[in-house]
Symmetry: C2
Subunit: 181 residues, 2 copies
Amino acid sequence: MERRVRDATCRVYGRTGWSGFSIEAVAREAGVGKASIYLRWTDRKNLLVDSLVTTLATVADVDTGSLREDLRLIVTHHLRYYFGDLKEAAFRMATEASLTPELRETWDTWRESQALAARATVRRGIERGDVPADVSVTLVLDTLLGGALMHALVTPQAMDGADIEELAASMVDFVLAAAHA
Amino acid sequence: MERRVRDATCRVYGRTGWSGFSIEAVAREAGVGKASIYLRWTDRKNLLVDSLVTTLATVADVDTGSLREDLRLIVTHHLRYYFGDLKEAAFRMATEASLTPELRETWDTWRESQALAARATVRRGIERGDVPADVSVTLVLDTLLGGALMHALVTPQAMDGADIEELAASMVDFVLAAAHA
């Protein structure tokens, strides 16, 4: 039941954004009663943030021993949800969450934890000598993760798993070339 | 009056997104009558798209003779609206427009024209020999413009004009280093 409600939450939010988002619409979409949603989640904010955080990618534990491989996994993960069923919810949340007073704090905390994990991944690469010590961790991550988001925003066509892995590899190679220059 | 209505449109849209956007709210925000808005714009879709397209950056005519300089101007332009008064409207439109059936076509057409202009800028750089001929125009633009968007999304603090120019320069140098590698 929880999984079904979370999936319905992401679909409804993807269609309407926060201003059209309601527990009633989620109940209808999931085919469950409102009361059973309130048994588990206190309000629409709690329901939405929990569903997105549970369902979206987490990069916290990527550590293959190779920076190139770690970054490929992270970018592939991001591209998969930008090109998958959660596309609408992920796009909206990327920009809307910080603009919405009710969502800002929880979302920023979660995004911060994701950013710290990604930064730690690049720093481990620097310590291993995978990239020079003076590389800007911020530039590497902004161009890589922003590049994945931008590519998805301007590419309405679907991409299959092989295309996504190929794209992730070429983005990582491109950015690591800059890091080595 | 047109300028005042367009500015009010961007502010209202930035606060509410499409599902909360109405001509009534814009009239209230601008302090004008609804009737005078309808004299100039046929409906809320027309009002929103016209206001955003008129107000947001256009990169169509950047051609300084140097790819590095052209790209710095383009990225500075993007960062200025991501960190300026239009921030909320720009963030929302970047992701929401293509998800909203009423907005998709007009917005995609405009974005496509912007993308073609940016691609032409990079191609002129290739023809002049500013970057190698085998560079991926898509990778250059996705990482650069996506990097600017991502930086703005994860940086809630304000940036002044000098900071923005410095950031734009370091992003362009980073991506051009990849293009040369």
